[in-house]
Amino acid sequence: MAILVTPQSKILVQGITGTFGARHTLLSLAYGTQVVAGVTPGKGGQLFENQVPIYDTVAEAARQTGATVSAIFVPPPFAGDAILEAVDAELDLVVCITEGIPVNDMVKVKRAMQGSRTRLIGPNCPGIVTPGTGKDSHGGCRIGISPGYIHKQGNIGVVSRSGTLTYEAVWQLTSRGVGQSTCIGIGGDPVNGTSHLDIIKMFNEDPATEGIIMIGEIGGSAEEEAAEWIKNNCKKPVAGFIAGATAPPGRRMGHAGAIVSGGKGTAAAKIQAFRDAGIGIAATPSEMADTLLKMM
């Protein structure tokens, strides 16, 4: 098992004919992921790369193919609308890769999603990988832009706001012969669909996950909230790293959400919260896997 998606999950891609969407859809197909439909309004009836049917609407694509998960690659001005179209089609899961969506668009989207059955991951995230059993983890479910081959099927859950730090952690695990249950990038924006805590709770309940790596960064208080819950509820060992200890206050460090403002969201406060919760702290980003493995 895994969380959120399995190798059997059927995926549709919104923005499949754009350069970015097309490139990563091909990589997902090559990884063995069940990409069953694409959505590009006006191109319904065509085939993507002679294999994936394209529909005009998400609802139609889901009805015709049984897809329950969407990956969104549409440009920022249209991404909020794309998310809500997938919510309206009552998909289980929407993974929004798009970077650069205005914050107020996401505030509206999140308000509109209240009470819906759909879970949103992202935006501004690398996506999700549940590794497969084949060579280079082939046969898994890859949604988004992560490199599939760095994974290996196993029992460690990885959750992070950052893409490249997720890859770093995954690669450290894989090169030590340790595999992953599911790896999730929740995104670097200040308003996102799923928090560290949401994912930690899922890993805690997932029988296939035996240890967790949680990677955070400066800004907001999501890491502190997750740590507080872990302290009282988590049955599994958790190791973590917080990026941005050297970031100057008041500056956005690449990610729209990575900012220390008004003395809030510092790396020091998050590391302290991790320590108080018994989370293993990697002194450097080179030691994320080793810190967890020592605890297991």
Binding site: L27, P76, P77, G100, I101, P102, V103, N104, D105, M106, V107, K108, R111, I145, S146, P147, Y149, I150, S160, R161, S162, G163, T164, L165, T166, Y167, E168, W171, G188, P190, V191, I215, E217, G219, G220, S221, A222, E225, F241, A243, G244, A245, T246, A247, P248, R251, R252, M253, G254, H255, A256, G257, A258, G262, G263, A283, T284, P285, S286, E287
Partner: protein, 401 residues
Amino acid sequence: MNIHEYQAKQLLAQYGVAVPPGDVCSTPEAALAIAERLFAKGEKLVVVKSQIHAGGRGKGTFKSGFQGGVKLCKSAAEVHEKAKGMLGQVLVTKQTGPEGRLVSKLLVAAAPAIRKELYLAVLLDRAASRPLMMVSTEGGVDIEEVAEKTPEKIIKEIIDPAVGMMPYQGRKLAVALGLKGDLIAQGAKLLMGVYKTWWECDAAMVEINPLCIIEGADGKEGLVAVDAKIGLDDNALYRHKNILEMRDLAEEAPLEIEASKFNLNYIKLEGNIACLVNGAGLAMATMDIIQHFGGSPANFLDVGGGASKDQVTAAFKIILSDPNVKGILVNIFGGIMDCNVIATGIVSAVRETGLKLPLVVRLEGNNVEAGKRTLTESGMTIISGDSMADAAQKVVKAVGK
């Protein structure tokens, strides 16, 4: 993106928020003319305010020795004189750093008689994913200090984005601010105007500190935004051409402007080890690991997920323009991107810039063997790092020599 106080007040005024009458100028003569107009209309006091994107202006000092970036004046002649002391001079405040900022614009405005100073801000509440209006009776001082010492004096109201700020919320906060009688309705209207400015301009933050209860010419009390600060959501600027025109490049670091031309995310820091990394999280972590091993990062630089050879070359030129840099650490986790493309970019950049400083490269990921081979076969003295820790230690050692 940040804008100047006078620009923030222009936006607020468009949404019906009362601001003191005045105008912006860039010469002492223009300052004099504005002041003469204000005094002719019966104003008793006029304030001259340096326009820079940093706080602490009033207590700042110009490099010329002139004291104070904000001055109250009793006559137009005094305004003229103060303007001469400020324009074209570099103002140093506790927020500018020792290098200070050049003052090339002044806001000359009426300085009303202030009865009480209040605080007002609108920002995003990240935990709630909703807008938050925050007010306090303790205006005119550092709000972080108020939050720390007397948190009960900060009153917060979350706004539901589906309906926007409701009049009852405005009245509730107005009453919490201690407003009475007619001022409650006036305060509620002003608060709603500030919220509307935040929402419709896609601001990241609007801060009015102080928001003042003033004594008007007719002796009646009124509410006015005496200072104003607005930061915008960069992601939303594409739909606000008028606000985008308010960008002041003189307020941004030249290297950061250069980097933005190549879609590189660069932030200059104070250290001497430059870094070039793909991905924001890894870039932050690279700075952290340099410090962990006793070094000091010279910059944050994210070349993005699909960096081209041209971008890598531009990135090298930018980090080498910082005279403090004594060594370079390249940290690339090439997930999808081909490590060999990056390696080729590095070799060409080193050739083009005639690099003499120690260069440590850590490559990992897709096609890494070919990438490493390219670096070795270039015949250049590039130090290879096996892991992030190894690379960071090597660059710290190389620079320390």
